[in-house]
């Protein structure tokens, strides 16, 4: 690649960051049009640059490394501000800038007329910049900078509509729960850095694989610590409960941050640091089972949600569970491919849901939407395409290929129970999204359309439909004769996938899962609605679905064992009990003064008596 162009890598994250700075400093003096132009323009330029780098990488597969400056040098700890563009970070950058640009464009329409238009775009630009730093960082400490940066933006944007205290609570919850995962992550970084004395990712991986042996205490501890960070960021068990609440933010934010990009950072982290995890096979197994558990629990919760955004939020937890499952069996490429495809279809689902709910006056309750096929065709067809891909409709959707790849990889490794969990997850996924679509988009119209949406929102939907249905061509299953472009792209970073598909039975069952899920749901909701109504009114079902509706009671548990005790502790300590000895000392000396001063009462007879008594005592002591 041309030297001069290669030197422009820093512009990829710098352009959105510069946009954020400009909007943050001068935003209130700019009109809405200029804000949108700056925000979309900076991300768009960044996307164009990524395309340029991507096409070059596609040709020669040479990673680009650019060291901007040495962050600091404190006695041998020398992290650098350095960017690396290789297959893995390229995929992430394509998603971030591509989907990011479309969502910026969408936002310019969606947020029109809102108070704080400039503030919104400043934070959204800051997010894109920080996310690009996260994925392009060559240094683990710089990665952590991006990691915390995106967390901050997520917090700010969830609480964007700040007047409602509930939004603020959701934002704080997201921040604190991801921080709870970041605490072990930081300890992991401390362990890693103090052990090896370097902070660059390639050097760390090299030294770790060279000096550590499999399944010893150090790699296992480290893998667990890093996993906790990934679990927090990617909303996996047991730190998943912040994500459904994060839906308090504007819908484009949910699409970009809480579906397509930030929440996948945990998957990216594990993929990027996979040599470390390979040294701890037990932890890998844990990752796979955490993923499977998250996949199933969240899918069941999604089945009973009534808020369209919460359906999608649980769906995101569930799909991230799929990715974790893939990571856990060492199918790095499959996990990344699902991440890639998921980013498109989940963004599309959110954006379509946003168009629908905006035009119905911010109505998010599925039961009050309905009848949108003719009234809001953009949302209808967009959501339909996204649902097809999420449900993994065989052969016609991209989601099918990515999900099938994961199941095939699990199958090949002979993990029967895990495979079944994945299969069941696929079935449930098809079921809940069919339910959401049927209730929310078909049927009779309940709510009037109060706001027309415009091209700025429709164009991103139209564009996203293409990869949602067709991104599968990048990685066709073995035997389908297609090229495996995606594997080839990440091959230098991630070990290649094994070159065999499902066995005959497995392949057939995998195709069957989504069809079963869709078919069953359709049958229950459209053909035999009386059955599902009867089930819903039974007491057991009521209790069960309430339990699932509230996310299996995790929130209530955390509320009782963590949040409330901490608030109570802080309230009890707020007067600072350690100050008591000192105030006691003060009071004591005051009282002593009071006591002694009472002897100075000016009565001569008392004085004379005291002098006489004192003399007597002294004499008694002195005389033998």
């Amino acid at each position: 690649m041309n030297e001069g162009v290669a030197g422009l890598l820093w512009l990829v994250p710098a352009l959105p960051l510069f946009g954020a700075l400009l909007l943050g400093l001068a935003g209130r003096r700019l009109n809405d049009l200029w804000c949108a132009v700056i925000a979309c323009g900076s991300v768009g330029l960044s996307a164009a640059l990524v395309c340029l780098f991507g096409s070059a990488y596609f040709v020669d597969s040479v990673p680009q490394l650019q060291t901007l400056w040495v962050w600091f040098d404190a006695d041998g700890v020398t992290p650098r501000i350095a960017l690396r563009l290789d297959g893995l970070s390229l995929i992430m950058a394509v998603v971030i800038t591509g989907v990011g640009f479309l969502i910026h464009l969408y936002s310019s329409g969606y947020m029109a007329g809102e108070e704080g238009y400039a503030r919104y775009f400043a934070w959204l630009n800051l997010f894109v910049g920080a996310m690009l730093v996260l994925v392009l960082a060559d240094d683990l400490l710089l990665l952590f900078l991006g990691w915390e940066g995106v967390g901050l933006c997520s917090y700010l944007l969830i609480g964007f509509w700040y007047r409602d205290a509930a939004n603020g609570a959701a934002a704080r919850k997201a921040m604190i729960m991801t921080m709870a995962g970041d605490l072990p992550l930081v300890i992991g970084l401390l362990l890693l850095f103090s052990h090896f004395g370097v902070t660059a990712i390639p050097a760390l991986m090299e030294q770790a694989t060279a000096t550590w042996t499999d399944s010893t205490t150090l790699p296992i501890t480290l893998a667990l610590l890093l996993l906790a960070g990934a679990v927090g960021k990617s909303a996996q068990l047991p730190l998943q409960t912040w994500l459904p609440d994060a839906m308090a933010g504007p819908t484009p934010v949910s699409a970009l941050i809480h579906a397509a990009t930030m929440v996948t950072a945990g998957v990216y982290l594990i993929a990027r640091l996979h040599p470390l995890f390979v040294l701890a096979p037990g932890v890998l197994s844990l990752i796979a089972w955490l993923g499977a558990a998250g996949l199933l629990l969240a899918a069941v919760s999604a089945l009973v949600q009534t808020d369209i955004k919460r359906v999608l939020a649980y769906s995101t937890i569930s799909q991230l569970g799929f990715m974790f499952m893939a990571l856990g069996v060492g199918a790095w490429t499959a996990a990344m491919f699902h991440l890639f495809v998921h980013a498109f279809f989940k963004a599309l689902l959110f954006l379509a849901a946003g168009v629908a709910s905006l035009s119905l006056g911010h109505e998010r309750d599925l039961r009050r939407m309905g009848g949108l096929r003719t009234r809001q065709a953009w949302a209808f067809w967009g959501f339909l395409a996204g649902s097809a891909s999420l449900a993994a409709l065989p052969y016609v959707s991209a989601g099918f290929f990515s999900k099938d790849l994961i199941l095939a990889e699990v199958w090949q490794r002979g993990r029967g129970a895990l495979w079944f969990a994945g299969w069941l997850g696929a079935l449930l996924t098809a079921a809940y999204i069919t339910r959401a679509f049927v209730i929310g988009f078909l049927g009779k119209a309940c709510t009037r359309i109060t706001r027309e949406t415009d091209g700025r929102m429709h164009l991103p939907l139209a564009v996203l439909i293409v990869p949602t249905l067709a991104a599968g061509v990048f990685e066709l299953p073995i035997g389908a004769g297609g090229a495996r472009l995606f594997s080839d792209l990440v091959a230098p970073v991630l070990p290649a996938a094994a070159d065999a598909g499902h066995g005959g039975w497995g392949a057939m069952l995998a195709v069957l899962a989504p069809l079963l899920g869709i078919g069953m749901t359709w049958y229950l909701l459209r053909v035999r609605p009386a059955w599902s109504a009867a089930w819903r009114t039974s007491a057991t079902a009521g209790r069960l679905s309430a339990w699932w509706f509230h996310g299996w009671g995790f929130d209530a548990l955390y509320e009782r064992v963590l949040r409330r005790p901490y608030a109570r502790l802080a309230a009890r300590l707020s007067g600072d009990p350690l100050d008591r000895p000192f105030t006691g000392l003060g009071h004591g000396s005051y009282r002593l003064w009071h006591l002694l001063s009472s002897s100075q009462n000016g009565q001569l007879r008392r004085y004379a008596a005291a002098v006489a008594a004192g003399t007597a005592v002294l004499l008694a002591m002195v005389l033998p």
């Binding site: 704080r172 921040m175 930081v186 401390l190």
Partner: protein, 480 residues
């Protein structure tokens, strides 16, 4: 020579500022500002000059007891002197509208500042103690005369705490001089004579005396209880100097005196004091969350953040010490700025109660933006100086004691809890009925400079590490 000129400028400037009050009430602030800026200029020449000791001056004072006027600034002193002067200028700018006895106010401010600069460059222990007192007494007046509703009580508490611990310090200094004098055969209060002198069994007792004074000042839990009262009741300018500079004299005292004078003792005690640091981090963060008075909240965050410094100082390695130095600078800027914000809030809402605030983004977007920036700095967002300080402190401490460090790292989560609570209660939420005005040009300028400083320390802090590297290497050598 530069140091002496700097001190004289500050002390004289204070007198002139007081006297100029008779001419016009507006003169003292101009005199004070020019004085500090002039000193800052001298400070920058110190930074630019070379050599381990950038400026040194030694004049005999009481030769009979081996006491001299010995000033010297190395790479450890220079950043702290600059911090003191920058925050001094900030304090003057923030107290610009003060009307009540402005001359005496500026006199106290400048003399306290001179005391701090003196503390950071005194190389004679007796002289150090003199500056220690020069710094504290005017600060007492600032709190007790220009403070808020409970200023008398808070001032007295501050005074009693510092004087009681100062007495221990003086006793320890004199005892140290005599013990070392016995060993060396000659009485001396000179820093260089005393370091490296074997002290025998007296060392732990002497170390305890020094530690008492410095741990009160730092402050370390459970000796911190003067701080919330003093910081809350002091006028904004006083809070800025207290949190920004005064606390650092405790940390500086540990690095400059306690560790090199008593290396064996402090190495042996290190785990206890690292534990105390971790305790302070957690305790301060929990208490900060429980406060409803915005200044008190910020005050407790200081207890938490200075815990990192204590942890790092007793980690006994250069990485941790570099972290401690950076943490001191970053905390000075971040917390100083938070007190400016708290003062601005109090001035506008006429209350320090967070319950009286809320929804201020809508009313005072600029103030809210700065408030959120510095709240985020308080929880150590990477990219800001506070992160580098905390991270290196933890990294160095991890080498010394991973378990205590893991507890200390809990401070990261707890600080996110109180910082987001602060943002929620003051800036988010439904806007209240107040009609308030946004930050003016003076306040905006000051806060913007502090924000830039934090970004600089967070993204390219190398100049600070280069400055401090030499002295810290020497210190590591003293530990063996």
């Amino acid at each position: 020579m530069t140091l002496a000129v700097m001190l004289i400028v500050l002390l004289l400037g204070g007198v002139v500022a007081w006297w100029s009050e008779h001419g016009d009430k507006r003169w003292p602030r101009w005199v004070a500002l020019l004085t500090v800026l002039l000193s800052l200029l001298f400070g920058l020449t110190l930074w630019a000059s070379d050599g381990a000791w950038r400026s040194e001056l030694r004049l005999p004072w009481i030769p009979r007891f081996g006491i001299s006027l010995h000033l010297g600034a190395d790479g450890l002193s220079v950043p702290l002197i600059l911090l003191a002067l920058v925050l001094g200028a900030t304090a003057i700018a923030i107290a610009w509208p003060i009307r009540e006895r402005p001359g005496f106010f500026q006199f106290n401010l400048l003399w306290s500042l001179a005391g701090m600069v003196g503390v950071f460059c005194a190389l004679d222990l007796f002289l150090f103690f003199v500056f220690w007192e020069v710094m504290l007494v005017p600060m007492y007046f600032l709190i007790a005369l220009w403070g808020h509703e409970h200023r008398q009580r808070a001032g007295t508490k501050f005074f009693v705490f510092t004087q009681a611990s100062g007495l221990l310090l003086l006793t320890a200094i004199v005892a140290l001089a005599f013990v070392a004098g016995d060993v060396r055969g000659q009485l001396s209060f000179a820093y260089r004579d005393l370091t490296g002198t074997p002290l025998g069994p007296a060392a732990p007792w002497l170390a305890a005396g020094f530690l008492a004074a410095f741990l009160v000042k730092l402050p370390a839990v459970p000796l911190h209880t003067w701080l919330p009262d003093a910081h809350t009741q002091a006028p904004t300018a006083g809070s800025v100097l207290l949190a920004g500079v005064l606390l650092k004299t405790g940390a500086y005292g540990l690095l400059r005196f306690v560790l090199p004078l008593f290396p064996e003792t402090t190495l042996a005690w290190a785990p206890w004091f690292m534990g105390l640091g971790a305790l302070g981090i957690v305790y301060g963060a929990v208490l900060a969350f429980g406060q409803s008075d915005v200044k008190r909240l910020v005050a407790y965050t200081s207890v938490s953040h200075m815990g990192f410094v204590l942890l790092a100082v007793f980690a006994w390695n250069t990485v941790a010490w570099q972290g401690a130095v950076l943490q001191m600078l970053a905390h000075g800027l971040a917390t100083g700025a938070l007190f400016v914000i708290a003062g601005a809030l109090q001035e506008r809402v006429h209350s320090r109660e967070l319950d009286a605030m809320g929804g201020l983004i809508a009313k005072v977007p600029r103030l809210a933006a700065f408030g959120m920036f510095f709240a985020v700095a308080a929880f150590g967002l990477p990219g800001l100086g506070t992160f580098i300080g905390e991270f290196l402190s933890l990294l160095g401490a991890f080498r010394a004691n991973p378990v205590i460090t893991a507890v200390a790292a809990l401070g990261m989560v707890l600080s996110a809890v109180y910082a987001t609570a602060l943002i929620q209660r003051a800036f988010h939420g439904a806007p209240g009925p107040h009609v308030v005005r946004d930050l003016g040009r003076r306040e905006t300028g000051v806060l913007a400079l502090m924000a830039i400083g934090l970004l600089w320390l967070g993204l390219a802090p190398q100049p600070v590490f280069d400055l401090a590297a030499g002295p810290l290497q020497t210190l590591a050598g003293a530990g063996g």
